[in-house]
């Protein structure tokens, strides 16, 4: 199994600012995934982060708004830039290990 931690667990931010979310895994993994879960909604993939290359973004998500870093095989960051209230969501990272996707505990972001 994989143990995934995320920092911060929650934050309240002002409109126009940026927040960087960290994801740490206790195993080396090739791919890391970032999902968004808007209030009362399902999970939507933002991007896939492959170590050593640019992240691949899903339709509706752009690098300028959600820049991602993947400096090594156990760590990734997602930045939510120039935030607006519509960015209020839970952000989750996940990894696939031994044919099972494990999720971090999520970061609950509230934008005022």
């Amino acid at each position: 199994s994989a143990v995934i931690s995320q920092k911060p667990s929650r934050d309240i931010c002002q409109r126009g600012t940026s927040l960087t979310i960290q994801c740490q895994v206790d195993s080396q993994v090739t791919m890391m995934f970032w999902y968004r879960q808007q209030p009362g909604q399902s999970l939507t993939l933002i991007a896939t982060a492959n170590q050593g290359s640019e992240a691949t973004y899903e339709s509706g998500f752009v690098i300028d708004k959600f820049p991602i870093s993947r400096p090594n095989l156990t760590f990734s960051t997602l930045t939510v830039s120039n935030m607006s209230p519509e960015d209020s969501s839970i952000y989750l990272c996940s990894v696939d290990l031994a044919n099972e996707q494990f999720f971090g505990p999520g970061t609950r972001l509230t934008v005022l």
Partner: protein, 116 residues
Amino acid sequence: AQTVTQSQPEMSVQEAETVTLSCTYDTSESNYYLFWYKQPPSRQMILVIRQEAYKQQNATENRFSVNFQKAAKSFSLKISDSQLGDTAMYFCAFTLSNFGNEKLTFGTGTRLTIIP
């Protein structure tokens, strides 16, 4: 593109009863993987059960079992002897790959409440 549909936004059942959550999906692929995830109020996503499309036998995990109907593209979850701790959001999910490089596509979820 693959889609996953959960037609039951909310369900409730008495403790110790059996409940079935529905899920349908759409894909043109023949090999894929289906999952049920549980998200309790703590918001931690927990894998409940997994089914490989090439396996005809339905997956089971203790009180949890699935009814996988490949031709009908249906993947329902049965929870037997339901417990209060089963109260959570349940998401059906789909992926094409077994190699860790494919995203999960999620349904909209079913909020399950177990009534004491």
